[in-house]
């Protein structure tokens, strides 16, 4: 006689713990060698070189220059997140409602930049924002200014270019969240007496909050550690933490201090992720439908 059916079904669905571990082995090896170990060595550098000490971390907070960089980084990241939300939410709403060709075009406009090199997009902004670039041409042509304005190497340039680069990371989670809301909810709200705007505020908006949370978290985290765009579009006055880390490593070879800066960045990241994971369990509402 063969095995009872339940054992058969479990056998087909599951593999033994040994096999599942074996499948994970290459992953664990690669991640250990090229992820956990290097980060560990760097953090070790920040805490134990020359001897066990917190002096490198203290330095980040003691010297006003570094505090200013840290503060600027957080401020710019928050500003970029806010801009992405304001630009991205209506776009995601339009995408969630669109069908056919319109949807394909909108989705292409979001996906194509996402899969185009950050360098290409940053380069485009350096060309557009140059002294004799297209934006200055436009400003002069429209009569806003007589002489070219300095755009590149300003905080505005950094914020605009970063918002442009990071916008798709905001739109995609928002779109996913909005698309998951059944259209019947808006219909139910309408027939119960809600005007379109009211129905949006009472029903659609709250149900899209998980998307807002994950999109904002994503953009904020990426912005915090962003390197390429601020390095190329911003100047020394707009230095963010990633550029500072790069400078410590490449110009000053100060590994312990660079490690401390990375440690601060990592800590901030992990705290944010942990907080959002605990506080933003809004997805349980959407999961029910």
């Amino acid at each position: 006689m063969s095995r009872p059916p339940s054992a058969f079904f479990r056998g087909a669905r599951e593999m033994s713990p040994a096999l599942s571990l074996l499948l994970l082995l290459p992953f664990l090896v690669v991640l250990f060698i090229a992820f956990l170990l290097p980060v560990g060595v760097l953090l070790h550098e920040s805490l134990f070189v020359p001897a066990a000490t917190l002096e490198h971390y203290a330095r980040v907070f003691d010297e006003p220059v570094y505090l200013r960089v840290l503060w600027r980084t957080i401020r710019i990241a928050a500003l970029v997140t806010a801009i992405c939300l304001v630009l991205g939410y209506p776009l995601a709403v339009a995408m969630a409602r669109a069908r056919g060709v319109a949807l394909l075009l909108l989705a292409a406009c979001v996906m194509l930049p996402l899969w185009t090199s950050v360098l290409v997009r940053t380069y485009a902004w350096t060309v557009l924002m140059r002294r004799n670039g297209l934006i200055n041409d436009l400003l002069i042509g429209l009569g806003f200014t007589d002489a070219p304005v300095r755009l590149l190497y300003t905080e505005g340039a950094v914020v605009v270019a970063m918002a442009h680069v990071l916008l798709p990371f905001m739109v995609l989670p928002l779109w996913t969240a909005l698309r998951a809301i059944p259209t019947d909810y808006a219909r139910a709200a309408a027939i119960l007496g809600a005007r379109p705007l009211r129905s949006f505020v009472e029903v659609t908006l709250p149900l899209s909050l998980p998307g807002v949370a994950s999109g904002s978290l994503m953009v904020f985290l990426l912005a915090l550690g962003f390197f390429v765009t601020p390095a190329l579009v911003g100047g020394p006055q707009q230095m963010m933490i990633a550029t500072l880390i790069s400078q410590q490593v490449r110009e000053l070879l100060n590994w312990p201090f660079a490690g401390a800066l990375v440690g601060c960045l990592l800590l901030l990241t992990l705290v944010l992720v942990a907080f959002f994971n605990r506080a933003m369990r809004l997805d349980r509402f959407v999961a029910s439908s």
Binding site: P182, D184, Y185, R187, A188, A189, A190, I191, L192, G193, A194, R195, P196, R198, S199, E202, V203, P206, L207, L282, R284, F285, V286, A287, S288, S289
Partner: protein, 356 residues
Amino acid sequence: MTRAGEVAVEALRKTFGRVVAVDDVSLTAEPAEFLALLGPSGSGKTTILMTLAGFEHPTSGRVKLNGEDATWWPAHRRNIGMVFQRTTLFPHMSVRDNVAFPLKMRGVPARERGAQADEALATVRLAGYGDRLPNQLSGGQQQRVALARAIVYRPPILLMDEPLSALDKALREEMQLEIKRLQRALGITVVFVTHDQTEALTMADRIAVLDHGRLMQVGTPQALYESPENPFVAGFIGETAFLDGVAERSADPGGPATLRAADGSKLHGTAVAALATGDTAQLAVRPERIRRAEDGLAAEVIETFYVGAETACLLRTAFGAQLRMRIAAGADVPAPGETVRVAWDPAHGRIFRGGA
């Protein structure tokens, strides 16, 4: 003139591209009436309901609510209640807030809202469930909350689109009675979409049968069952055998008529529409009307099925038509292969012109 609770569509037509979803339907639900829209999937029931609710607008024709032309009113101004097929309880609001939602939209102060919502929950026998979230309720409870939410603001009209189709059979039957009880108690007009004929027969005061976007017949459950006006209705509601033949002589609507089948057998019934001699026609007769008779139509027994209270007998006539007969428990059951003779009261054999 306004008549609270009256729902009407006039010459309603709705097309989606080349699909004609609703084709020239005129229909009225009287105040406090329970009207069922019954038809197979794709027959246009939902489209009619969506037009009543204001989510679709007619290609041509009019919608009247409470006697007023409401064709172009936006949904949020129609003041009608609606229960959808799938739950539309807002998942981020408590059950009480869900039920209070329409009151909030109507500017009812917060304190009164809670009391009225609790009262509505009590009428659907869910008192005490107000603080839960919708996903903490069973499917049947969720639809009861949806019902409470649809009636809490006392709309004169309630629309329901297959609200029970996601529930299991026992629960569905319980809810059917409950909805019926509520409708009577509130005196509300209900337009109820279903593809389940038993549900329509059980619940409705009148049933509108739809097929391919066209209205086939409107009437009381009894009228539809006893006097279908066309073969579609005869076949769609209940069980029916169709026997083909040609009219022996002309007949008036409602008058006696006789068909001659392919093998010369005579089939007696009542003409639904006028017949001329030689017209091809069909006679429709229900299994429970067929009895054994010495001088009747000869038919061979193909198979018998024991179904408890009775035995169903599948017969084939000499001219190839199949029909079922019911034999009450205790009576003689013929064996397969045997030939029996059957007949029916001509009043119960309805003859339609045309056919195969």
